[in-house]
């Protein structure tokens, strides 16, 4: 597959209070972004089990986005800090597995940042296009 016709597949785990609502605002504001993302709603970015991320990447998703509240704004006070520490370790794990660590993005996007959410998806889609398909997709094929 050449990189030009490669459409990256992004799974996004978004916290209910900030980034999921921000993604809704992108919708109500009709801000367009590439249809490459599939959103899973969780209550908090601190509830993203590393296994969710690893499963998505090992099964062949090209990128994973974790979206949470800005530091200090977490609805549950400290969930986003927990997510931040976990992502740091996950990136190390990805490197050890031979996967590009930049397939995993963590972004703080508030409920009022619809534009920022759309921009993030646009940027991430472009970055993953440049990076190319997840090598796991081929390795896991029978």
């Amino acid at each position: 597959m050449s990189n030009s016709d490669f459409e990256p597949r992004i799974v996004a785990f978004l916290c209910n209070w900030c980034t999921y609502t921000g993604a809704d605002l992108a919708g109500t504001s009709r801000i367009q972004y590439p249809p490459n993302v599939r959103i899973i709603r969780l209550m908090c970015s601190g509830a993203v089990d590393p296994v969710y991320v690893l499963k998505a990447l090992l099964d062949g998703a090209d990128g994973v986005l974790i979206g949470g509240c800005h530091p200090g704004d977490c609805h549950y006070q400290t969930g986003n800090y927990k997510a931040r520490r976990r992502v740091a370790i996950l990136k190390e794990t990805l490197r050890q597995m031979g996967l590009e660590e930049d397939r995993l993005w963590l972004r703080w996007i508030s409920a009022s940042e619809g534009q920022r959410f759309a921009d993030t998806i646009t940027e991430m889609t472009a970055a993953l296009k440049a990076m190319g398909p997840n090598p796991m997709r081929r390795e896991w094929a029978v």
Binding site: R9, V11, N16, W17, C18, Y20, T21, A23, D24, L25, A26, G27, T28, R30, I31, Q32, Y33, P34, P35, R38, I39, I40, R41, L42, M43, C44, G46, A47, V48, D49, P50, V51, Y52, K55, A56, D59, G60, A61, G72, D73, C74, H75, Y76, Q77, T78, G79, K82, R86, S110, A111, S112, E113, A118, R137
Partner: protein
């Protein structure tokens, strides 16, 4: 699970909002072929009565165990459909929503990719739905008291309404006096009544109310607990400084606004020329007897609109809604009291949208106030006069206006302590920095934090009647739990699978709410479902997979990932 799941899937057209970009018929056909799906339909408006009836009928006739509606955001209509399910005896937690409007049809162009995305979101929803289990909704007792933060017009009205309804209210005001910004205003617009005369009786009633406790020079320093039972710490910072602990069931935030500081725009010479003052300073000048500047009666008075407002590049991008009419009232005051003076208003647009506003604006112009559409560039001194340089944007030429007094109509800004309070109360802020309401159209006084409501200018610029309307609406909203005496407690809380739990306590260390404790006999963790807020941090951290979060279980999320990634290839 006792029975094999039997899922009903309903694709909403939302008029053309979804149907215009998503092939809803194709999505319904696809959904009908998914495992465990007994019926898949599409309909114009699922939230309408006929739409909901489709669901209710299918629950009855087909014995559905789970329902998936693919429509708008769950933040919009989840409650609507949960209630429809509940009416036909289906547990509301066996309902799932696929967001194919805000997160699909509204953000992508019409085409096969958009329909494909909608299908996958539906498949993801169904794969989660078949694993959803019925949950029991619990209720918690409500402390029959309210906290009002801010002693301005909004806070006073909210406090009086709640107290009049029979509940105890504690009003915390940061400053030494009550009445807020309104007490600094000279007169109302367009009705020209002295503001202090309107507010003073309200303050007297507030202070004399048997159910209202007023704490001035006091600040909320700590908020814990949850909807119905908040624990508040207030620091009183006067000579008898003290720490006060309160228990309340609801909180109203009515902290008001700050004013834009015009020193940020040096071309106006504010702080440099004593003859340049803000609109708020004019109020003091007008209330203080004879109007003089440097000991003399001003002959030429220039008002400048939108100082710092509607200027996304250098100052505030938004309109403060009140300055046009405040300026008209101030120009009227000068015209009445100094009939010899030349009064000019330099404006960008005049926004006279309220009841009686346009009529008042017309009257002020008839009195002789000159309105000139102009873009001011700088203020300089020439002799004993100031000169306002501007571009007349109707004539397209540069003009110079002599002035003895220049009044800058500065807009409203979020209070400097907004960020601190937002963190304490877990509130979001709009792009303009003011506190954000739960929904810009439908929930203007609620916030994302249950039991916390907004009133007045802390949510955005408002005039006095709009502030009072929102304050009384917030009071009414806060009284709902107070009157009922009970609030629904989140059912989607953490739970423990005891046979897997080693009692290591990692989860308890992570829990912000102190909801987890080691069972003294069984040696496993226990969850206090009233304290648990359902964030899921414990479930994610449990090394043995014993901790889990209802409605967002490990298996449910993994099923969604599996479906989405599987369908992607």
């Amino acid at each position: 699970m006792a029975r094999t799941p039997k899922v009903g899937v309903y694709i909403c057209h939302c008029g053309i909002n979804i149907a215009h970009t998503v092939d809803v018929e194709e999505v319904a056909g696809f959904a009908g072929r998914l495992p465990h799906v007994a019926v898949a339909r599409h309909y114009t408006y699922m939230c309408s009565d006929p739409g909901q009836n489709l669901i209710k009928q299918d629950i009855e006739e087909l014995g559905l165990t789970h329902v998936v509606v693919a429509a708008c955001s769950p933040l919009m209509h989840e409650t609507t459909f949960r209630l429809a399910c509940q009416e036909k005896g289906l547990n509301p937690y066996q309902f799932e929503m696929a967001n194919i409007r805000e997160q699909c049809s509204w953000v992508h162009a019409a085409g096969p990719e958009t329909t494909e995305k909608a299908k996958q979101l539906v498949a993801s929803g169904v794969s989660k739905a078949i694993l959803l289990e019925p949950l029991a909704e619990r209720e918690a007792e409500v402390t029959p008291a309210a906290l009002v933060i801010g002693g301005g017009v909004a806070g006073i009205h909210a406090a009086l309404d709640i107290a009049d309804a029979g509940f105890r209210v504690v009003l915390v005001e940061r400053g030494p006096a009550l009445g807020g910004r309104a007490m600094q205003l000279h007169k109302t617009f367009p009705t020209l009544e002295p503001v202090a005369g309107l507010i003073a009786p309200l303050i007297a009633r507030l202070l004399g109310h048997p159910r209202i406790e007023v704490l001035t020079e006091a600040e909320v320093t700590e908020v814990s607990g949850y909807y119905g039972n908040f624990e508040i710490e207030v620091a009183i910072r006067n000579p008898q400084s003290a720490i006060c602990n309160l228990q309340v069931g609801a909180i109203i935030v009515a902290t008001g606004y700050d004013l834009f500081d015009p020193t940020a725009l040096p071309e106006f010479g504010y702080g440099q020329y004593p003859e340049v003052i803000t609109g708020m300073e004019f109020e003091r000048l007008a209330a203080g007897g004879e109007i003089t500047v440097n000991g003399k009666t001003p002959q030429d008075v220039v008002f400048i609109h939108c100082v710092g407002s509607r200027d996304a590049h250098r100052a505030l991008p938004y309109c403060s809604r009140v300055c046009c009419m405040v300026t008209a009232r101030q120009a009227h005051e000068i015209q009445q009291r100094l009939p010899e003076a030349n009064v000019t208003v330099l404006y960008m647009d005049v926004r006279a949208f309220g009841k009686g506003f346009e009529e008042f604006y017309d009257e002020v112009r008839r009195e002789g106030v000159l309105y000139r559409r102009a873009n001011p560039s700088e203020i300089i001194r020439r002799g004993d006069k100031l000169i306002v340089r501007a571009e007349d944007t109707l004539l397209g030429e540069a003009v110079e206006l002599p002035a003895d007094l220049v009044v800058l109509a500065v807009g409203m800004t979020p209070r400097a302590d907004t960020e601190k309070l937002a963190a304490l109360l877990r509130l979001s802020r709009s792009p303009d920095g003011f506190f954000m309401e739960a929904h810009p159209k439908l929930r203007p006084v609620d916030t994302a934090t249950g039991g916390v409501f907004l009133a007045g200018c802390c949510q955005g610029p408002k005039d006095i009647p709009d502030t009072i309307a929102q304050a009384r609406a917030a009071a009414a909203a806060a009284m709902v739990p107070l009157m009922r005496g009970k609030v629904k407690v989140e059912a989607a809380v953490a739970f423990v699978e005891e046979e897997l739990c080693a009692g290591c306590g990692v989860c308890a260390e992570l829990c912000t709410y102190g909801a987890l404790a080691l069972h003294p006999v069984r040696g496993v963790m226990t969850v206090n479902p009233v304290l648990c807020q359902g964030c899921g941090a414990c479930a994610m951290a449990c090394p043995s997979g014993a901790m889990n979060l209802h409605h967002f279980t490990f298996d449910q999320v993994m099923a969604q990932v599996d479906t989405l990634v599987g369908h992607l290839s």
